[in-house]
């Protein structure tokens, strides 16, 4: 069986390599891809959209419909993770630590529980003493990561970056908080409800901007029709529309990354994990 698999892989690889010999060379000016649309994008995009970064102009404006469904795919991934993994039954065993003495209490009865506050704190089963160095470094680092994520989203028009990258970086700052402290610390700050609502709100912002453009009398996602709504130079309106769309993508991706991480690491129970 293993030999058969190896032969199939080798055959497929050979055919694929054989197929690439028909592809145009890298950067070939006469290839079909660079004869028609590319020229229009490269020559006219800056004049039409006032966005210096061509990639953003193509992704968020010329091919905005495509990016909208990519965002919907990300949202669906988060939804699928939630539906497959979420487990609403709480664990029977609970562990609490008495903060002044460091004694850990183990409760096997579901009905009995302590109030978590300054005296007692809830801890994981595989609780390890949290390291002072890691906690301090992450506490200092996380705000800078989040500021950088906002910069990547806001500056997507001018430099590499955009909603997807910025959203992923913002989501990874949540993951860093969960890893350096514990999952309960993260869940206290960003609740499941918050993440669920924001993953939907991101997609809604994207579709909403497209729908507003339609209400204003243009095509779906045609940002130039938004000009009467905002007090800006009409030539700059497409860049602003793209920024709004990127913010929507960023919010959706940020929430979905956190949802996927929390559900995978705690096996859907949202109580303890990595």
């Amino acid at each position: 069986m293993k030999l058969l698999g190896f032969i199939i892989v080798c055959l497929t690889g050979t055919f694929l390599l054989y197929g690439t010999s028909d592809l145009p060379d890298w950067g070939d000016p006469n290839s079909p891809a660079s004869l028609h649309l590319s020229n229009h994008y490269i020559e006219k995009a800056v004049a039409e959209t006032e966005v210096p970064n061509l990639v953003t102009a193509v992704l968020a404006d010329y091919r905005g419909f495509d990016t909208m469904f990519e965002t919907a795919v990300v949202f669906t991934a988060g939804l699928a993770c939630f539906l497959l993994l979420r487990d609403f039954k709480p664990k029977e065993d609970r562990y609490y630590r008495h903060v002044p003495t460091g004694v850990v209490l183990h409760f096997k009865d579901k009905a009995r529980q302590l109030r978590v506050g300054t005296e007692f704190e809830a801890v994981d089963k595989d609780w390890v003493p949290s390291d002072m160095v890691i906690k301090t470094v992450c506490r200092i680092l996380i705000p800078f990561i989040q500021i950088y994520a906002l910069y990547v989203v806001a500056h997507g028009d001018f430099s590499p970056g955009g909603g997807f990258q910025g959203g992923v970086i913002f989501g990874s700052s949540f993951i860093l908080l969960a890893i350096s402290y514990n999952l309960k610390t993260l869940m206290k700050r960003v609740s499941e409800k918050f993440l669920g609502i924001f993953s939907a709100v991101g997609v809604l912002i994207y579709v909403g901007i497209g729908a507003i453009a339609m209400v204003m009398g243009g095509n779906f996602l045609d940002y130039s029709t938004l000009a009467p709504l905002l007090p800006v130079n009409p030539g700059h309106i497409r860049a602003l529309g793209m920024l709004g769309v990127e913010i929507g993508v960023g919010i959706a991706v940020m929430a979905v990354m956190a949802i996927i991480y929390i559900n995978i690491v705690s096996q859907g129970r949202h109580d303890e994990g990595l």
């Binding site: 590499p160 970056g161 990258q165 991480y261 995978i264």
Partner: protein, 81 residues
């Protein structure tokens, strides 16, 4: 074109790709996959596709590695085959 960088990075891509599917330890596979993604990110950057390189670095080398490690943490570390 910087061909020595290209050659070194391409070698690393192939080595890590083969290593990632042949190593038995799943945690090691996750880390090797992260290295693979980072090398792909360098390749994109050398080819001038900085947006794609950015995405590869943040999604491929960053978050997806964390997801793999979380999945290994919740299941088992050794493969069956």
């Amino acid at each position: 074109m910087l061909w020595p960088i290209d050659l070194i990075v391409l070698t690393f891509v192939i080595v890590t790709a083969v290593a990632a599917i042949s190593v038995r330890d799943l945690l090691g596979t996750a880390i090797l996959f992260s290295v693979y993604s980072f090398m792909m990110c360098l390749l994109w950057a050398v080819m001038g596709a900085v947006d794609v390189a950015f995405t590869e670095a943040s999604v491929g080398a960053g978050v997806s590695t964390v997801f793999f490690v979380a999945a290994v943490f919740s299941t088992s570390r050794r493969t069956k085959d």
